[in-house]
């Protein structure tokens, strides 16, 4: 980190750091709330991967699009999602982004171009192509970032989407978060390559691998790709090598990986790395970092308070929103 000559302002760097803190603290809170039984269902945490979503989305405008994954909280925060509505959705409340009908894996915000987290591995690839198609068709310079994991590049959707995006020169940036595992199966056991970016060659698309725990490296790579996409020069595949600090989902005993491996990656934790950079380059003082941490802690506490004080959705709402114009039949009880 710091080896790259950055063309970003200190304000933008501080904004990126704050986003990373938001993700870190949101996810830590979600982890604890899940452990205490306050959050139903499954939770897939983004802890450790904060630099990818943050560095990538720092290049986007509000009217640009993203597609996300089951591990989506980080992408949504990075694209400008509201912490209160997100937390309320995790708690299943009517004030949540999806009125309590989607939960952790299905948060979306059309006003911010967030086309949804997704419970189906690889499903976002094709939806991102659709978003890119809409932008191209309408003649705007909007782009779509498609976030996905290493294991999803074994799905047929990856091939179909990369191929069509390349043939039609669609403004899609494919950002692979290679965290080394497809649930419990290591990359070496699920694909016979080390760098996912080599797959770009098959589509005649630029492919690059970067350190996904270096927010500036991610920013730079995505910046170039977004610039190309806005100029109608087509898609790019960017692989960000990273690691999830937690298991696939909360409750995963992670028997498939060693504590040595985790320790090795904890040394590359993206948050202390950017903090060191901020202090060493006199962008923020240590005191300033404490202040920012305090501010984000307050936002998270407010989000939790918002979620806890919100109502559960009414039963009647269960039969709404299937269609724009049909309310399905309800039960008597």
């Amino acid at each position: 980190m710091g080896g790259i000559i950055l063309k970003i302002s200190n304000e933008s760097i501080i904004e990126m750091y704050t986003k990373m803190l938001k993700i870190r603290k949101f996810e830590t809170k979600a982890m604890n709330a899940f452990a205490e039984g306050d959050i139903p269902g499954f939770v897939h945490l983004y802890l450790g991967e904060e630099a990818v979503a943050t560095g990538a989305c720092a290049n986007l405008r509000d009217d640009d699009y993203i597609t996300s994954t089951h591990r989506g909280h980080g992408h949504i925060i990075a694209k400008g999602g509201d912490l209160k509505f997100m937390m309320a959705e995790l708690f299943g409340k009517e004030t949540g982004y999806c009125k309590g009908k989607g939960g952790s894996m299905h948060i979306a915000d059309a006003t911010k171009g967030i086309l949804g987290a997704n419970g189906i591995v690889g499903a976002g690839h094709n939806i991102a192509v659709g978003a890119g198609l809409a932008a191209q068709y309408k003649g705007t310079d909007q782009v779509c970032i498609c976030f996905f994991g290493d294991a999803s590049t074994n799905q047929s959707t990856f091939h179909e989407a990369m191929n069509l995006a390349s043939v039609w020169k669609l403004p899609v940036i494919f950002v692979c978060e290679n965290n080394g595992y497809g649930i419990s199966v290591s990359q070496a056991r699920h694909q016979n390559i080390t760098d996912v970016s080599v797959r770009a060659t098959a589509y005649n698309v630029p492919g690059i691998t970067v350190d996904g725990n270096d927010v500036f490296a991610v920013y730079e790579a995505v910046n170039e790709a977004v610039t190309r996409a806005r100029k109608a020069q087509g898609p790019t595949l960017i692989e960000c090598k990273t690691y999830r600090h937690r298991g696939h989902f909360e409750g995963d005993p992670t028997v498939y990986r060693s504590s040595e491996e985790l320790e090795k990656w904890m040394k590359k934790d993206p948050i202390p790395r950017i903090e060191k950079y901020l202090v060493e380059n006199s962008i923020v003082t240590e005191e300033g970092i404490k202040t920012l941490n305090g501010e984000v802690d307050k936002m998270i506490a407010d989000a939790v308070e918002f979620a806890l004080s919100s109502k559960n959705p009414s039963k009647a709402s269960a039969v709404e929103d299937v269609y724009t114009d049909i309310v399905e039949e309800a039960r008597l009880r």
Partner: protein, 323 residues
């Protein structure tokens, strides 16, 4: 009035809206210069250009997925699958994405998309190009499913399909593309959930849709010689379903036969029979009868195919069994 084929009815529905609304466009396999495998988009590439009539790679997953993604971003795509059988390749994009996004996202994203699905047998296309898969689609909350039986309805239902803010599955019977019929000079959108009574009658109700409307009308003519007066209801829209028209007819005839081209096991006709049994049982004075294909894949040999598929004589027999 003017004469038009079923295929032209579909095309004119698309053309009408494309001329009015620049957000409407079509993509699919060979829909461009080639004009579509069944010629439905013939001439549209030259009329509307490459951007609005797009050839895709042979990739059904991304055809449906691109419709989902683009519909979510403010345009109104029409995706053509060459055969409904190819849905299997893109099923996730349809069932887990298109059908559920609006609900999962709390009603905050609309998907105004149409998927055109050529279906049905009788053309010697064998097991992977002849299926009737409407039950897969009607089973999924979030999808609307329509199935025109004539050029006028093909036109009017297409207008409504494009106007709808939900994913609409528009099923076309490929043995009907060349069938001609009268079409009004100015076609209005046909609202979904409104069945059409093709023939009034007092003795027995046939509930059907698609190509089986013709077979049912043929059966009705044959049965009239035995003084059995058949009412034929063309559903047009499978979901939403016009229960009122079905129930009102059964209240009059007290007998019902449900006809489709599907393999009978797990067919949409089973759902219709269940609805009638649950909500209209006391109006029936005979068992609810169903006519469908045999429970086999569709065979290639023409004699075998016509043996497996239902025809008007199977309908005649089913009706007579109620008397």
């Amino acid at each position: 009035m003017r004469k038009m084929t079923y295929g032209q009815g579909i095309r004119e529905g698309m053309r009408t809206r494309m001329l009015e609304d620049p957000n409407v466009f079509i993509f699919g396999e060979d829909v461009g210069k080639f004009g579509g495998c069944f010629g439905v988009t013939a001439g549209m590439f030259d009329e509307f250009g490459e951007s609005r009539v797009r050839d895709t790679p042979i990739s059904e997953g991304v055809i449906i997925g691109a419709a989902v993604g683009s519909a979510a971003c403010g345009v109104r795509p029409i995706a053509e699958l060459m055969f409904i059988d190819f849905l299997t390749v893109g099923m996730d994009q349809l069932v887990n994405q298109a059908a559920k996004m609006r609900y999962m996202f709390g009603g905050k994203i609309n998907l105004p998309m149409v998927v055109r699905l050529p279906a049905g047998g009788g053309v010697g296309a064998a097991a992977q190009h002849s299926q009737s898969l409407e039950a897969w689609l009607t089973h999924v909350p979030g999808l609307k499913v329509v199935y025109p039986s004539n050029p006028q309805d093909a036109f009017g239902l297409m207008l409504s399909a494009i106007d709808d803010d939900n994913p609409v599955m528009y099923i076309e019977h490929k043995a009907m593309y060349a069938m001609t019929g009268e079409v009004e000079d100015e076609v209005k959108p046909i609202p979904f959930g409104k069945a059409s009574i093709k023939k009034e009658g007092s003795d027995v109700t046939i509930v059907t849709y698609g190509k089986q409307v013709f077979d049912s009308l043929k059966a009705a003519t044959i049965l009239s010689k035995d003084n059995i007066d058949v009412e034929v209801i063309d559903l047009r829209s499978l979901y939403p379903l016009d229960k009122e028209t079905i129930f009102a007819s059964i209240e009059k005839t007290h007998k019902v036969v449900i006809v489709s081209e599907e393999a009978k096991r797990g067919a949409y006709t089973g759902e219709l029979a269940a609805i009638i049994a649950e909500e209209c049982f006391f109006e029936c004075d005979a068992p609810i009868k169903r006519v469908g294909a045999l429970n086999t894949p569709i065979p290639f040999n023409p004699e075998l195919e016509s043996y497996v598929l239902p025809n008007e004589m199977d309908i005649v027999e089913a009706v007579k069994a109620l008397f």
